[in-house]
């Protein structure tokens, strides 16, 4: 069994890091470069089990994307992966339905453990 995960980050380096970490245990990873790109790709992917999302991105940032997903009634769990650690931002993301907050640089094992909890491969 596998599960599809989307990583949204304007940094190719981070997208590749997250992809490498999650592909190892068996996740299928879709990449998006910002919130606009993510919404377009999510519209064509009904089987998304988890979203890993940056905060500061051009065009549509991670908080704005959370607002859009919340308005759409999305049930896909979202974990924020960002350099930001400001309590107000974390609280804002939580109030919009985010399930977690990881501050870069991240440890791959933390990310895999988070994915296993929110989007178990065997489910």
């Amino acid at each position: 069994m596998t599960a599809r995960v989307m990583v949204i980050d304007d940094s190719m380096l981070v997208r590749r890091q997250v992809s490498a970490a999650l592909k190892t245990p068996g996740y299928l990873v879709t990449e998006a470069v910002d919130g606009v790109d993510a919404l377009e790709k999510l519209a064509g992917l009904a089987d998304m089990k988890l979203i890993v999302c940056d905060v500061n991105m051009p065009r549509m940032n991670g908080i704005e994307l959370l607002e859009r997903l919340s308005a759409q009634g999305s049930s896909v769990p979202v974990v924020m992966l960002t350099t930001e650690g400001q309590p107000e931002l974390i609280q804002r993301a939580r109030s919009l339905g985010a399930k977690g907050w990881i501050v870069k640089p991240f440890k791959p094992e933390f990310l895999v453990a988070t994915a296993a909890k929110l989007a178990p491969l065997g489910a």
Partner: protein, 179 residues
């Protein structure tokens, strides 16, 4: 906004000191030791400069920009340290500038200087130079294993700028919080 020079400004000196500290911490998180290299202050990275990333920031009564400059060897070393992914070196420098300013933002929040960040803009070329008002700030240079990097924090303070009372405790790099 009428600005005053940050030269000899204790708030700016505090910000600059935190920048030096978080630069060393950031690379240590990747098991890459770097040392402050004041000897480079005169000549800088010169024609070895391969890439520069800049990120603007704005706070209550202060605004400015962080610049991260890297030699090609530095950008290659950072990419390797981040997992050896096949990706654009320019992107690597942009992301490291983002992590650097993100860490600085946390430190400044604790000091009562909350700031918001823009997204990085990165340029690549031979012998890059910047043009800024003289005395606005100064470069800090660091030496890694076989490479150098430079950081520059520019800040313009509004007259009457004051640090805020704060009890904020930001999440730190590497923290993972599940709600």
């Amino acid at each position: 906004m009428k600005s005053i020079s940050p030269k000899s400004n204790p708030d700016f000196e505090l910000m600059d000191q935190h920048l030096m500290d978080v630069a060393i911490e950031l690379f240590a998180a990747y098991d890459v030791p770097i040392e402050h290299c004041p000897a480079l202050a005169e000549e800088g990275l010169g024609r070895e400069t391969y890439c520069m990333a800049s990120i603007g920031y704005v706070g209550h009564g202060v605004k400015g920009v962080l610049i991260l400059a890297a030699t090609r060897a530095a950008a290659e070393a950072w990419t390797n340290a981040a997992g050896g992914m096949e990706c654009d070196l320019v992107d690597t420098v942009g992301e490291f500038s983002n992590m650097l300013l993100g860490r600085l933002k946390g430190r400044l929040l604790r000091e009562g200087i909350p700031i918001s960040l823009a997204t990085p803009m990165t340029v690549v070329g031979d012998g890059l130079r910047i043009s800024v008002a003289p005395g606005a700030s100064s470069w800090q240079f660091f030496e890694g294993p076989g490479w150098h990097l430079g950081t520059r924090l520019d800040a313009a303070f509004e007259p009457g700028f004051q640090r805020e009372e704060t009890l904020a405790v930001p999440a730190e790099a590497g923290d993972a919080i599940l709600f």
